[in-house]
Symmetry: C2
């Protein structure tokens, strides 16, 4: 049967997203909600209007607060890893769109502590090197430098510490065992870590909205257990599906699982071409003749899925591509060609943006960053 | 039988110190060691020559390093609590003596995080208020302001964080359960805390010597398990007995257990007189006649014990007092009178020293403090 697993550290199998909504106790993003979003933002981002962000917690309350003029703030984060890939850009891309639309503050936590605690063979300088690369990639997305604070836990820990202690005091060993599958062999740093990831959701007395992949929801369940007792709001969240790995529509992309699953942000045009042509799972038929006659299946075709999720914003064009694929007019190789061009455009523009990214402002000298460095959270 | 318990959070019963040495796997401070100490320092502090510090780990190695010219450094600490009492001054007093003799650096960790995590009903501002008071009392002891760094964990956490993560990654939940009696109901902050207490023992690449009461040894067992793997020395330690509480020679003094057990540093002359006269357990006989005839028992007489441990440095005078007590010449009330005078002298001079204590220098601007604020420990 369809066995699947979704935790912050493992995503595998053919994921039944409807089941996840029930399992995690979240809510589906329904038509009523997308209408409210549209009223607030204008035309929706493709990831929202195509249902790639499919689940939420209390998004309605965040919209209430917006409508009342109280507003909300955004929070996302990243555990440093050696190569960022296209999949990592998914929640960040929607986060930028939300910041543009709602003109709100955004906190981006770089969890260098988690990265280090999670991997025994990672040295501190490995983690720091990865963090620096990742931050440059994140800043390149072009968030508002005066409304965005990117920070490493290791640098900001002192400012978070009193609130962190208050949070940690409310979380028992039993809870993190149940929620994260920790056991007595887990190191005490990692067992304590979940408290750290809840803190930025309490950086303001407003409600927080977290755009993330569904596998991060465990943290927000803990946050929602403790936040009100600490004098803050339960966080809201919107959850995405996973961008499928190249080799097929199961599991999620991973930098460490090797070249065949992911396009890295550092891949050059040739590598992109080679990876997609060689590894991308196709929904096409085995022979051209058969394909022309029977057509391809876009629901399992990874290139089409990527276009739909991330690389073809134009609904009409996407519909045309689907139609032509189903009818057999577009061959699998041609579908791959369309994606290769789009991915290379994206990477080229990302690389340019990275060179001019306002890292320093988002981390230290921008309006929000400056304010944050003067704040100790209690 | 003699049931007793010694953990960092509970000391009770009639403590068999010989048994503790075996139980904890430490070593007795024997004549050979005190001779070596005497060679290095001159005449020993009464707490050493009278065996109040009775146990050690690797003190010989610290002395080796001293003799080789490599030297060692000192580390002690304090969990903030509302009132410091005489018992808290015991390890600190010997620490000052050691710093004077060995002219070495001293780190004093104020564990405001532990204080907060340990007590559910303590607010952050409660802990901070207690910390400020405690620091003033500690600084009053008169450590060398250029060789002493007093810091609160909450302020220095960023500087310790990379090394803390390295330490925490090496300690499992099983270990802290076994060593500290934690369980799954323990909050994740407290479970992680033992890693924090090991860090200052790795502030330098030299060997660390920790003067402490024997109940703190659990932490050093953990430190000694991980230090070499992190590139540092296993710490040395010397362990004291407990200053007996006023009401009798069992357990240890506690500020929170009420007025009858402890003399607080803030007690005035009248309070000292009243507490000692009213609560101090006496080794004397029930009637004056009987006492004159049979004499008192100094081994269970708390006033005599306090004189011996802390308040009468002159061996000859102490021997005379003992003799006169055993012979019945000194009555219980007179013994109490001797102690009252000594304690009041001590507190008066402490209060004066507190007014001129170099808190700011030891925390921020002294030679060692300045260097420490520029250091991130990895």
């Amino acid at each position: 049967m369809n066995d699947f697993k979704v935790t912050p550290w493992e995503v595998s199998g053919s994921i039944d997203y409807e089941k996840l909504i029930k399992q995690f106790g979240t809510s589906r993003i329904d038509g009523k909600l997308t209408e409210r979003l549209e009223k607030a933002c204008g035309p929706l981002h493709p990831m929202l209007r195509r249902g790639f962000f499919f689940s939420h917690r209390d998004l309605n309350l965040a919209l209430d607060d917006h409508e009342k003029g109280k507003g909300f703030f955004l929070y996302t984060g990243r555990k440093p890893s050696k190569g960022m890939h296209i999949g990592h850009m998914v929640p960040l891309t929607l986060t930028k769109w939300l910041q543009d639309k709602f003109k709100c503050n955004l906190y981006i936590e770089i969890t260098d502590d988690e990265g280090f605690l999670h991997k025994r063979d990672y040295s501190w300088s490995d983690v720091q090197a990865a963090a620096a690369e990742n931050i440059a990639d994140i800043a390149a997305i072009g968030f508002d430098p005066d409304r965005t604070f990117i920070f490493k836990d290791s640098e900001y820990i002192r400012n978070m510490y009193p609130l962190l202690l208050r949070a940690a005091r409310k979380i028992t060993g039993s809870t993190v065992k149940a929620v994260f599958g920790f056991d007595d062999a887990t190191n005490i740093g990692l067992s304590m870590y979940p408290a750290i990831q809840t803190i930025p959701s309490m950086f303001e007395k407003k409600r927080c909205l977290i755009p993330c992949a569904i596998d991060q929801d465990n943290y927000w369940r803990i946050q929602r257990d403790i936040a009100e007792g600490l004098g803050f709001h339960k966080t809201s969240a919107i959850h995405s599906r996973f961008l499928p790995p190249l080799q097929g529509v199961e599991g999620k992309m991973s930098s460490s699982a090797g070249a065949q699953t992911a396009i890295l942000l550092t891949d050059d045009e040739k590598q992109v071409k080679k990876k997609i042509n060689k590894y991308a799972f196709s929904g096409g038929k085995d022979t051209v003749e058969e394909h022309r006659k029977l057509g391809g299946d876009p629901t399992i075709d990874v290139p089409f899925q990527w276009l739909s999720i991330m690389f073809e914003e134009d609904d009409k064009k996407l519909a045309q591509i689907r139609e032509d694929y189903v009818s057999g007019k577009i061959l699998s190789g041609e579908m791959k060609g369309i994606l290769i061009e789009k991915v290379n455009e994206f990477l080229l523009s990302h690389k340019k943006a990275r060179e001019n990214a306002q890292v320093e402002k988002m981390m230290y000298s921008g309006k929000l960053a400056k304010k944050m460095w003067d704040t100790v959270h209690e």
